[in-house]
Point group: C2
Chain length 143, copies 2
DNA sequence: TCTTGCTCCTGTAGCGCCTACAGCTTGCAA
DNA sequence: TTGCAAGCTGTAGGCGCTACAGGAGCAAGA
């Protein structure tokens, strides 16, 4: 049984963030000491580390919670975990593609300025330029 | 002079978003009709489109506002715009690199499951696996 | 003229994922 | 005993939207 500070150190999840996860139901609250302090057992520290690893891999908290549920269910449902992972992998690849297109568009936009022209074609294009084909109008681009 | 609905249509920025931009000082509010309705001139619609293009390219609202300031200043400071753009380009490239490493780590994590083993090594690794070298501990990974 | 239906208005609250602070109590060592 | 670190709760802020409630204005048709 360790304190929240020690749990934070061992899991790599900050103290405030641990309390936030508890408050929002991502993890269940641990036992409390008589004085009301949180006391974490090894398994609970494992869970925190699990969440952190999921977050490091870009999973949302909802996905992390879902994977945690799969991982701690009686019958180990590998297929379920695989499909969560696969969906996530596709979303990562989509983001990479979007960012690469963004990068290309930005490079294109900034290129003419390097020629040392008088006007800044970058700002001109942003202000009045033609409609580019980027971004496609029908896709969400909150990256 | 057009209504907010028409300005939204012409600029590609939603009505609620236009009001949000005005409320948060990204753009200045337009004239009002006697009944208190917003009335946009062509230049104001241009500004909205400028903001949208910046956002499409991944600039933050603060950066967009800054670029707008540069674009509408008397002496056209192309160098300033270039440096904002260059910094942004580097951050896009950093994000791409991070995502690619994330992708590789995820593929690595999910690979062994495909072999049809009894245990799900993906979940096992997330739960108890060794510390991977990804992510590096000293970098922000909120992507 | 009246009604219908669209557009517009303000204000507020919610999302996801934290981060930070105020103001308090507890625990431990010197 | 004193002093400080570490814990506690509750609340607010940041980013960039999005969505609603509850009202007012406006143009076109019956």
């Amino acid at each position: 049984m360790v304190t929240i500070g020690e749990a934070a150190r061992r899991s790599g999840v900050g103290i405030e963030l641990i309390r936030y996860y508890e408050r929002t139901g991502v993890v269940t609250g641990p036992e409390r000491s008589q004085a009301g302090r949180r006391q974490y057992c090894a398994a609970e520290v494992h869970v925190l580390r699990f969440i952190r690893r999921c977050r490091d891999l870009g999973f949302s908290l909802a996905e992390a919670k879902s994977l945690l549920g799969i991982a701690s269910s009686e019958q180990l449902a590998c297929g379920d975990a695989q499909s969560v992972g696969q969906r996530h992998l596709e979303s990562i690849r989509q983001k990479i593609t979007d960012l690469q297109q963004m990068e290309a568009a930005l490079v294109q936009l900034m290129l003419p300025c390097k020629a040392g022209q008088q006007d800044c074609s970058m700002l001109d294009t942003l202000l009045e330029g033609p409609e580019s084909d980027w971004p496609p109008q029908d896709r969400c681009l909150n990256i």
